[in-house]
Symmetry: C2
Subunit: 202 residues, 2 copies
């Protein structure tokens, strides 16, 4: 019985990936944490690679791998400068991660993801939207970029309007796009979050 | 390697269901078709039950079951009058189905789903929203209810605003709600669909 991952939109992305028939190589940008979503791709026979900036998140992923006897190949790195050759992977994604930077850095990271993706390969990326309950919180750096705190650590969050990220994909084909506003209970409080997800073909 | 189902929001619902620790009994209202989502619950050891109004969809589900040696227990029935006793199931859901009726019938069906759900059990249901590209097409019956055609068959579609369905759940606790507008390619055309999904605890 396979583990169910909380990264629900990645089930759709995985389904799209499987249907391409391309070699099953995948890179996750922002791959660390205690439930690394590369584990989902490993369930389906993918060769997995990950980049993670935060050493604690790398250690969490390593503990997960050791418990399950998995080798997800998550290494320390910076998605603004990916340490991989052009067109290395059939599939490159970043889930709930890329928006922890200023928008110029987000754009740079996305270009790196596209660079390392094979022609015909699929990209998944999602962004926070201005519908999120935290949009507006903290010092404003302009253009819906805010200095905020996660777990007492300072972090930038960049928020996008529903169509703002469209031009970042240039002439690539958007196969799927979902603008979603969700309400859930987090630490006893009802919160509203906003995301826009893309699946794009190079 | 488990099959991936296209009914992506049900992965979240399944994860919520698993975490309750309740007995794994589930009813799907509108359960037929060539990829019945009860198959996902069967992967996780659930006793599955389904109601389906359309005989063709039942036959499609039966073919699916026979291919895989599954017994999903999908029978002909009408979700406006469920043939089950009160509080029969830990989990009751309807995915992309309940909105094929007029709104008074949707409300009646939802009351039936709630009736057959055990206290503490979880309900999933989703509605079309007024953001859908077909909202406005065909003869209008009022209140965003339209007479339309699917595969040359006449069908009612009822469309809801983002908060319109909230009162239908009375005092039950909404654990998760997602209002989503998606764009995808369907039969060569880019289409826009709108859904609002609920996970509610009785």
């Amino acid at each position: 019985m396979n583990e169910i991952f909380k990264h629900v939109p990645l089930y759709r992305y995985l389904s799209f990936c499987n249907e391409t028939g391309l070699e099953r190589t995948v890179l996750d940008c922002g791959a660390g944490g205690d439930s690394p979503s590369l584990g989902l791709f490993a369930q389906y026979g993918y060769s997995t690679y990950g980049i993670e900036f935060d050493p604690i998140a790398i250690a969490q992923a390593q503990a997960y791998e050791q418990e399950r006897g998995l080798q997800l190949n998550i290494e320390r790195g910076d998605m603004r400068n990916l340490p991989f050759a052009d067109e290395s992977f059939s599939f490159v994604y970043s889930y709930n991660s890329i928006f922890h930077m200023r928008k110029d850095e987000v754009s740079q990271s996305l270009q790196e993801m596209i660079r390392t993706l094979k022609p015909g390969g699929l990209l998944f990326v999602n962004f926070l939207t201005v519908n999120d309950f935290r949009c507006g919180e903290g010092p404003h750096l302009g253009d819906h970029q805010y200095e905020q705190f996660d777990d007492d650590q300072p972090v930038i969050h960049s928020y996008y309007t529903a169509s703002e990220a469209d031009p970042l994909f240039g002439n690539m084909e958007v196969l799927f796009k979902e603008d979603r506003t969700l309400e859930r209970i987090y630490e006893g409080e009802r919160i509203r979050q906003g995301f826009v997800d893309y699946i794009v073909k190079k």
